[in-house]
């Protein structure tokens, strides 16, 4: 187990091995996302209450699920970089942050677009919407601190502490926002209670959810490999690997 850990922690080993994973991730993504989109948007039956506008769910729900787990993955990378001082984990955290921020933004925007036909307004201060917005701010904080600190390793560690403190705080923020909403306003509409979906509706959704995870890991690996190339540009193995191109 520890040998495995050390091997994968070395940028060189990671770079070589992760290159082999890329085609599988790309294949998974390119297979599942188009399938899910076409199936969900064209062939899945229309909802008996919401009509066709429910179809934005096929983008919104995967984005919202991915938004939260990408924060968890970023913070986990931050924790590893704090505890074991792995350069690779620092690079992983730094490259996951912008992707996660965009996914959260997409979840918010598609949610707003879905809200307009359903609730008659783009934005309400509902507990779930608010905590997703705060999740976006958490990403923004990590990104801003990482940018301000420059490329130094110490800046990365400060950002890692922020990400980890954010991860511990995430449930607190979520519960406090829940209590703020639920005890005071009557629930005029609920995002949580959906009618039980038939299989024709949730199968494309499942394809989309798995597809966006594939997409996330694919893009993350691409960015991480680019980051490794930039950081290790002076090391011997990069030089050997790319000597034809220098």
């Amino acid at each position: 187990m520890w040998r495995w850990f050390h091997e994968w922690g070395s940028p060189r080993y990671f770079y070589a091995r992760s290159g082999r994973l890329l085609p599988y991730l790309a294949g998974l993504t390119l297979l599942l996302i188009p399938t899910g989109i076409v199936w969900g948007l064209l062939y899945a039956p229309a909802d008996y209450q919401q009509g066709h506008s429910y179809r934005i769910m096929y983008v919104h729900v995967p984005a919202a699920i991915l938004a939260q787990s990408s924060y968890a993955m970023m913070a986990a990378a931050g924790m590893v970089s704090l505890i074991w001082r792995l350069k690779l984990a620092d690079a992983a955290m730094q490259t996951a942050a912008p992707i996660g921020a965009w996914v959260t933004a997409i979840a918010l925007i598609t949610g707003a677009l879905w809200g307009k036909p359903m609730w008659g307004t783009y934005w309400v201060w509902d507990a779930r919407l608010t905590s997703t917005l705060i999740l976006l701010f958490l990403f923004a904080g990590v990104l801003a601190l990482r940018q301000a600190a420059g490329p130094s390793q110490s800046g990365g560690r400060a950002a890692a502490v922020l990400a980890v403190v954010g991860l511990i705080n995430l449930p607190i923020i979520k519960f406090s926002v829940d209590w703020w909403f639920t005890l005071h306003q009557p629930a005029s509409f609920s995002v949580t209670e959906k009618p039980a979906m038939p299989i024709e509706m949730w199968a494309p959704l499942l394809a989309m959810v798995i597809g966006v995870y594939g997409w996330f890991f694919w893009v993350w690996l691409l960015r991480l490999r680019q980051e490794i190339r930039e950081r290790e540009v002076r090391s011997e193995w990069i030089r050997q690997r790319y000597q034809n191109e220098f």
Binding site: L82, I134, L135, F137, L138, A140, G141, A144, L145, A148, A149, S152, S154, G155, R157, A158, V161, L162, V165, G166, I168, N169, I172, I173, S176, V177, W179, W180, L183, H184
Partner: protein, 214 residues
């Protein structure tokens, strides 16, 4: 204990900082009736939230100041190297921040409340919520200030970093005051304070080592 004395002595010798926080609070609160309406009914409804937001901004404004001089003259480095445990240093720094920036504002809350036409009962609960909630703000502000030390980016970065963490005390504090002390919110706010007191000084200490090493 010596650290605490030093912090208090520094505080007593620079009353300008305390006055600055107070003035900021009073002036911002004075802007709201001008910007919204002088109607006391409207102001009364908004008052708890407005005073909490003003307190939060004051806290952020003072955060940079609480560490910068120690960082620049090298005392912070000595504290990191010194015998006193670093988490204790960070806790003392938070206490200092709270005493300079937030306690004076809590003391003049009745004045701010009068400006916003608050009833005395709401005012009492507002003060109670501020007393329990603002130490959490101080602990987070010192953590954020430690993270941005030496980056020369000013307050905007601090707000971006800290905003998500300041939401729970803000939500629980305002709800507690507006429900006139419903125990549910009071317990949660007190619990938040306890958890923050026990954990944040350690997080700040780990960031302090990074900041000094930079």
């Amino acid at each position: 204990m010596g650290l605490l004395k030093r912090e208090l002595r520094l505080l007593l010798r620079s009353p300008a900082e305390v006055v600055q926080s107070l003035l900021f609070g009073v002036l911002v609160v004075a802007l709201f009736p001008l910007a919204i309406t002088p109607d006391p009914d409207v102001l009364r409804q908004l008052s708890v939230g407005l005073i909490w937001v003003v307190t939060l901004l004051t806290s952020l404004l003072a955060a940079d100041r609480s560490l910068l001089s120690d960082f620049e003259d090298g005392s912070l480095e000595q504290m990191v190297l010194g015998v006193a445990p670093l988490w204790w240093v960070c806790l003392v720094k938070s206490v200092g921040h709270w005493l300079t920036a937030l306690l004076p504002l809590i003391v003049i809350t009745p004045l701010l409340g009068m400006m916003l036409a608050m009833t005395s009962e709401t005012m009492l609960w507002l003060m109670a919520s501020l007393l329990v909630g603002t130490p959490v703000l101080s602990l987070f502000c010192v953590l954020g200030a430690m993270m941005t030390l030496g980056l020369n980016r000013g307050g905007a970065l601090l707000l971006v970093i800290l905003m998500p963490f300041l939401v729970p005390p803000l939500v629980l504090g305002t709800q507690w005051a507006m429900t006139l002390g419903q125990p549910f919110y009071g317990y949660l706010l007190a619990g938040l304070l306890c958890v923050s007191l026990m954990t944040l000084p350690f997080a700040t200490a780990s960031v302090a080592r990074i900041a000094v090493g930079r």
